[in-house]
């Protein structure tokens, strides 16, 4: 319990840190919001622009703006978008669904593919299948997401007409992007699982299990795999972070709605409240997933759980 509380405290710290960092970075970047908003035909430093600034509260000192923003957060107010005066929260919630669907299904692809290929690769160690899987996973790890995305579109949409290439809403539209985004993670997990299975197979207790007549399959699936999962679970948290970052590119390639696209557009327009809101959301996700990872260790490995008592 104490452990979970302390993790929670740390998580809040991380979120606060990232909000603060982003707030100051976007605000010191060159480019004036009011000028941008007013449009190209309004000359700089006119009455209109001054008025606009006052309306947005941009004339106040940065620190006041910051305190104001934080105070707003506590009331669930993430500000309003500069671009279209909609509440930021609404915009974010609109875009949250598609991104969540994308990252979670990519994660699914990564875990299932990684697990199966990793186990096969370890079981057929140094055989032909192992060689093929190792080459594939290396390709998966080293090829950029957008390139895989383009390749998938070209093969499955343009050449084979099997799946739609753009848009979101239906399940079919989710397939290609999640493979595109999930393949890097699958490569990482494959390699990790293979190595940790091979390592766990050398544990002395595996020899004694065999000595007790336990079958090869039970040893692999029950004993070795559980050991091999511990490092893989750590990796999951990191892979999730990469997927959130990757969704920016993937959503662009597949013309999908989502947080990634929202951030890209907001940066273009210097729509600071949207940028901050998206980063806040992303940070919260990332922290939550990693907290889940930390807590799940305690279920996988009793040594961690009981050492705290």
């Amino acid at each position: 319990m104490l452990y979970i509380l302390s993790r929670l405290g740390m998580a809040i710290g991380v979120i606060w840190g990232s909000i603060t960092l982003v707030f100051f970075i976007v605000n010191v970047l060159p480019g004036d919001v009011a000028t941008l908003l007013a449009g190209d035909d309004v000359p700089t430093e006119t009455e209109t622009i001054h008025q606009l600034r006052e309306e947005l509260g941009l004339d106040r000192p940065l620190l006041v703006q910051y305190m104001d923003y934080i105070a707003g957060l506590f009331q669930g107010d993430l500000g309003t978008s500069y671009a279209n005066s909609e509440p930021v929260l609404d915009r974010l919630l609109d875009n949250l669904g598609p991104t969540l669907a994308l990252t979670l299904s990519s994660m699914f692809v990564a875990v299932i593919l990684g697990l199966i290929l990793g186990i096969l690769s370890a079981v057929y160690q140094n055989k032909l299948l192992d060689g093929i899987i190792r080459v594939l996973s290396l390709i998966g790890v080293s090829t950029p997401n957008f390139w895989i995305g383009i390749l998938l579109i070209w093969i499955f949409s343009v050449q084979l007409h099997l799946l739609p290439s753009i848009g979101n809403g239906s399940f079919e539209q989710l397939i290609l992007p999640s493979i595109g985004l999930g393949i890097t993670g699958a490569g990482v997990i494959t390699r990790l699982i293979r190595n940790s299975i091979l390592e766990a197979s050398n544990e002395p207790f595996i020899r004694s299990l065999r000595g007790k007549g336990i079958g090869q399959r039970a040893i692999l699936l029950k004993h070795i795999l559980r050991h091999a999962l511990i490092p893989a679970v750590t990796m999951l948290g990191m892979i999730f972070g990469e997927m959130l970052a990757g969704s920016v590119v993937t959503e662009t390639v597949f013309s999908r709605q989502g947080l990634g696209r929202l951030i890209v557009d907001a940066i273009d327009q210097k729509d600071i409240p949207i940028i901050q809101g998206s980063i806040l959301f992303t940070a919260v996700f990332y922290v939550c997933i990693n907290m889940l990872v930390d807590i799940s260790y305690r279920f996988i490995d009793p040594r961690i759980r009981l050492n705290e008592k």
Binding site: L2, F205, R207, S208, R210, G211, K212, G213, Q216, R226
Partner: protein
Amino acid sequence: MSVLLEIKNLSVSVERGKEILPAVRDVNLGIGSGEIVCLVGESGSGKTVTSLAVLRLIDYEGGRITGGEIIFHEQDIASLAQKEMNGIRGRKIAMVTQDPMTALNPVFTIGNQFVEVIRQHKSVSRMEAWEEAIRLLEKVHIPEPASRMKQYPFELSGGMLQRVAIALALACQPELLIVDEPTTALDVTIQAQILNLLLELREQESMSILFITHDLAVAAEIADKVAVMHEGTIVEQGTVREIFAFPGHWYTKTLVQSKRGLLMGSASVYDCQDDEIILEAEGLSKFYPLKSKPFQQKRYVQAVDQVSLSIRKGETLGLVGESGSGKSTLGKLLVSLQKSDSGRILYRGKDVTGGTKRTQKELRKNTQVVFQDTFSALNPRWKVEDIIGEPLRVHTKLSKDGIRERVEEVLRLVDLDPAFRTRYPHEISGGQRQRINIARAIILHPEFLLLDEAVSALDLAVQSKVIDLLKKLQQDMGLSYVFIAHGLDVVRDISHRIGVMYLGRIVEIAPAEELFTKPAHPYTKALFEANPTIDLDRRRKRHVLHGEIPSPVSPPSGCHFHTRCPLATEKCRSKAPVMDVLSEERTVACHYPLEEKERVELLR
């Protein structure tokens, strides 16, 4: 007696990297029913490979049976399919592996592991299997078996785990039990308990045991028949009496002699007459804080508790005691590798506790250490000459040629060819690596060496050579040693005086021979009684010390030993005994030290 298992002309090859090397050649060995056969040999002699071949586990470890037969119940195990083997493994032939700490899956409870094995071989329900497991744990004398079932392996001590592993192997009443170095990782007291347990189980279950060990004395304690292995073949086999009384093969002779040599060695130890005191400890204490929850009283492990001792020039002080008794911590305090929490250390009468950087550096120069693990003590990416020469670069201003000269000189001192200086640690054997460690320790002409389990990882023959070297160096350079080891025979061989430690306190200090022949503290006596010996006339059902060393977090009140002491009274429970001078050179901390007559009788 009918023959249960017969190995005929067995040969096994094992893959090592790209090569396939013969590991076992033409082994012939029969195990009668109800018989205990010991397979004795040094590491790498093929003992474990032979046992893995009997279970056909060798197939999983890059090995292959290249010839011969293993006849078990008129079946040739060597030619069975792995699937058929699963019906024999665990059911007819069971195995207990060396290190109990790693023999069980750390992420499952003890109970789960029992249930899995029992249900693999018998069609019973989970509940029935659970009940059966509790009965098995009772059979190996595990206290509170029902609550142990819900614990994880890392929550139990090594001795308890070995009992669990044995109980697990007994799950299906096997006819043959293969135990591979089951006591090597354990203290002598626990070793004696496990050996007694195995003898008891052999009677109860009427099973045969193939016992693999590197320790001749353990073999002498337990075996009916002994087979000596050397470089992949059995060089000699016979009844235990034949082997130890009339060893035939030269290799067996060397083994038996080096073991006996240890026992009479003390006489040949350089007699130290010097009364000059090099190092002294006064009321030395060290405790480690434990992780604790907030609002809870902080708890400590009392690793070393008010220890006072002195070491003279040219003298070896041995330290013995079960693991957890604080030997290693005391050693580290003596050479200031750790800071004591109270007490003083005097080096040549000068207080060096704490001290400035300069006095520390001076102290380091004169007090050196050699540890157990020969490999991890050496930087694997450095050549031998850089490793040995490093202290010179730190403490002296010698030129490159000067350093090389000294390195070659010191290599000759430890009986190594000076050509070794261009090699890397992984290119040389364990015994040679320990010589390198010793060479590095003596290159600055120190006065004091801490030898913490310095020979424990070496094979017997190598061990005795390194001991000889240490004795020679002591004589030539007037070195003083503190020698820490769990092997009592080695300590007896090299030490002038021996200190016995129990839960952070020294309970007795005496000259080596006197301590062994006339121990005054009941703990000392119990420790030595547990020590296996190749003297077959002393082989008997021993008075084994019950229980295990208590937790140093909450040590028993009064005399720490009272919970296990056969002589304990109310006084022992309430009042801690102080160090009492018995005679010159002898002190003991006990309310009821054993009388001279009693000591001799008990140790007969």
